[in-house]
């Protein structure tokens, strides 16, 4: 039932290296998007001038610490928040100047899966109603029997089977992993082209998490669903987004961007390096060789309300150079094909970095 999504799906690229020249037309494009929040202490710049795009069947991982602007960016991409500057485009059209019909179509095509499956499902609706209501509302399902059958199909797609036994249940009768699958099934109900997954697996047990990621991977590969995938865990980003790209965010800005294998195996920005150094490995010998504190000078993230001057990462940065980093704000610059870094020390002035031969990371 999820076939025939539109013309874009014929250019699924999941088998292709992420750096392949022929990228499909993006579904969602953020152009110079910013978001500021008014507080008593003045304006907070939660997201500052972010450019990103995701195409069908592509994965873009947004990584960074809490408060780096990942969720705010995702909410803008989902049309849940209006940017204070910049454009959010869906298939080349500015979503905030769309007609009502176009906007409805966009809303159907871009679905959001939240972190907490305990909070995102209505506790007094059984699973059948949770899934059938949007189907009926948008005229996809006609009548009760059709609604039931389509809801059952959705559950099969997220590996909840036999579906018949889950449909009459209420959220409290399901485990966290099962609830999150229901949340994904609901997101799938309107044949989305893009799923925005906001830490959608971070509350789940290890084994359940991988099952969930493998299931999402099938939606990506078989149905050509694009993903804006938000996670603070680079191991998860590596696993789910190997054929995609990673954007590393820090205090509202993208500080490094590139194909996943390159960002993970050959990080450029000192912040990306620190994040990678901080991830514990499931290997006792290897993990104990990692640098204490990820090599950072401080483990505390500065407040958005009181951003450091120059490069906002400079108070924590191991490569900090006085009179440059604390004065000038670095821009995101292209350092190699398809790679961007925002750093005075490793980017810009330093010689261009040659990307690795195996950049796409084939099978």
């Amino acid at each position: 039932m999820l076939e025939g999504n539109g013309v874009e799906t014929e250019t699924i690229v999941h088998e292709e290296p992420a750096s392949a020249a022929a990228r499909p037309e993006p579904l969602i494009t953020l152009r110079g998007v910013s978001q500021s929040f008014k507080t008593r202490k003045g304006d907070l710049q939660a997201v500052d001038n972010v450019d990103l795009s995701v195409g069908p069947g592509e994965v873009l991982c947004l990584v960074g610490e809490s408060g780096c602007g990942k969720t705010t960016t995702a909410r803008m991409a989902a049309g849940l928040a209006r940017p204070s500057a910049g454009l959010v485009e869906y298939q080349g059209r500015d979503i905030w100047s769309m007609s009502k019909r176009e906007f409805t179509d966009y809303r159907k095509s871009v679905q959001y899966v939240h972190q907490d499956p305990y909070a995102s499902l209505n506790p007094i609706r059984d699973i059948h109603r949770t899934l059938a209501t949007p189907l009926k509302k948008h005229g996809v399902a006609k009548g009760r029997k059709d609604g039931w059958q389509q809801a059952a199909k959705l559950l099969e797609q997220v590996d909840l089977s036999p579906a018949e036994s889950y449909l009459p249940k209420f959220p409290h009768q399901l485990s966290g992993g099962q609830r999150q699958r229901v949340a994904v099934a609901r997101a799938l109900s309107l044949n989305p082209k893009l799923i925005i997954a906001d830490e959608a697996t971070s509350m789940l047990d290890v084994s359940i998490r991988i099952g969930m990621l493998n299931m999402l991977g099938r939606l990506r590969d078989d149905l050509g669903v694009g993903f804006l995938f938000i996670t603070h865990d680079l191991a998860i980003a590596k696993y789910f987004g190997w054929h995609g790209r990673i954007a590393v965010m820090y205090l509202g800005r993208v500080v490094e961007f590139g194909p996943t294998p390159q960002v993970i195996n050959d990080p450029q920005h000192p912040y990306t390096k620190a994040l990678l150094d901080a991830v514990p490995e499931p290997d006792p010998d290897l993990t104990r060789t990692k640098k204490a504190g990820g090599g950072l000078r401080s483990s505390e993230i500065p407040s958005l309300a009181d951003l450091p001057s120059g490069c906002s990462f400079h108070p924590r940065c191991p490569l900090f150079e006085a009179d440059t980093c604390d004065v000038l704000r670095p821009e995101l610059e292209t350092v190699a094909t398809d790679r961007e870094v925002s750093c005075h020390v490793v980017g810009g002035a330093s010689p261009l970095h040659v990307p690795r031969a195996r950049s796409g990371g084939g099978e």
């Binding site: 290890v206 084994s207 680079l234 006792p284 993230i301």
Partner: protein, 355 residues
């Protein structure tokens, strides 16, 4: 630096034998959440309890310090704590007053969910002061200055700035800072046994790293034994000398961190490890363990893991295997698995993409 396997010259600090923990349910029945656990913990050793949610890790941790909720009880088993002066304490026989003294001074626990462990309307200095005042050295009451100094020293040990943290309320601190304050509080009375329940769960990756670093440092300086509960196997690889995998209320495999991560012999442990994505190196194929853990009120006969196990045989549904030694080593070093087919269990990682 690897801290694996410090030499064991003394006896264990904690000996647990055939421990059972039961909960009363609404309909008057009891459900066993821990079903016969044995282990020894040696001084300055760290033991990770790993497994899926609902396998009994937290219940076991709470049971060790007798912190079970009202509906919980210990119908069977023994917990022996061997103190620093060579005294042997039967933890299950301690009376209320003795138990209060034993906790904090000898054994302390850091609970999951840092915010809930604080009184939200007390400043950090008052909460730390309460702990110090409740456990005075002898008759003399500690002065305000002493309390401040002892608290400040502990906070510096967890790399927090005392002048910033002590006058703050819990909500004024970040999650990672709160977690470090809790660790500092738990160590105020210099206990020799620390139990941590998911100390890094729900924290950011750099904050997690800061906690892990602090625990490494504290353990090197203060020499305490540690039991930590985690569903995150990578954290176990980082912090544990020994690992015990729990399933349906029992320890089904135990060994050194290297035994468990490089040569797991129980199919369940293999399944858990195969579900953890690494960040360094090749991209391996990952898979989840099929099915879900059994309901503790309705356990399958024989091995509780049999219905989900790829190695299952007919005998697995009739025999519930005991921990069988795989490599015999010195006390507290053995690798053992509770599986009738451990000899056949192979652990391989299939690479799907090269780094």
């Amino acid at each position: 630096m690897p801290t694996t396997d410090p030499p064991k010259t003394d006896g264990p600090i904690l000996s647990v034998r055939d421990l059972h923990v039961a909960y009363r349910t609404g309909d008057g029945k009891t459900v066993e959440a821990v079903r016969g656990v044995d282990f020894d913990l040696y001084p300055n050793q760290s033991l990770a309890l790993v497994g899926e949610s609902g396998c009994g890790k937290t219940t076991l941790g709470l049971g060790l310090l007798r912190l079970l909720p009202k509906l919980g009880s210990v119908p069977k088993g023994s917990i022996t704590y061997n103190g620093r002066k060579g005294e042997s304490v039967d933890v299950l026989a301690l009376r209320k007053q003795e138990l209060r003294k034993w906790r904090w001074r000898d054994a302390a626990m850091v609970f999951q969910g840092a915010m809930n462990s604080f009184n939200p309307v007390l400043r950090i200095i008052d909460q730390m002061g309460d702990t110090i005042r409740a456990h005075p050295d002898g008759e003399r009451k500690p002065s305000k200055k002493e309390i401040w100094e002892r608290s400040a020293e502990m906070l510096r040990a967890v790399r927090l700035e005392p002048n910033r943290v002590l006058p703050s309320y819990p909500h004024e601190l970040s999650g990672g800072m709160r977690q470090r304050v809790l660790i500092a509080m738990s160590l105020l009375l210099d206990p020799k046994l620390l139990i941590l329940d998911e100390p890094t769960t729900a924290l950011d990756i750099l904050t997690q790293r800061a906690i892990v670093d602090v625990l490494h440092e504290l353990r090197a300086e203060r020499k305490f034994a540690m039991v930590f509960i985690s569903h995150d196997l990578a954290i176990a690889a980082e912090l544990a000398d020994r690992v015990a995998t729990m399933y349906a209320g029992r320890i089904i495999e135990t060994g050194t961190a290297r035994d468990i991560f490089y040569g797991p012999r129980h199919p369940y442990t293999v399944g858990l490890i195969k579900a953890v994505p690494p960040v360094v190196g090749d991209l391996p194929e990952l898979a989840s363990i099929p099915g879900t853990p059994p309901s503790l009120s309705n356990l399958p006969s024989g091995c509780a893991f049999a219905p989900r196990c790829g190695y299952v045989e007919e005998r697995c549904t009739s025999v519930d295997p005991e921990l069988d030694p795989i490599t015999e080593r010195a006390a507290g070093q053995t690798h053992a698995a509770a599986c009738v087919r451990w000899q056949d269990v192979v652990y391989e990682r299939k690479v799907v993409a090269h780094a």
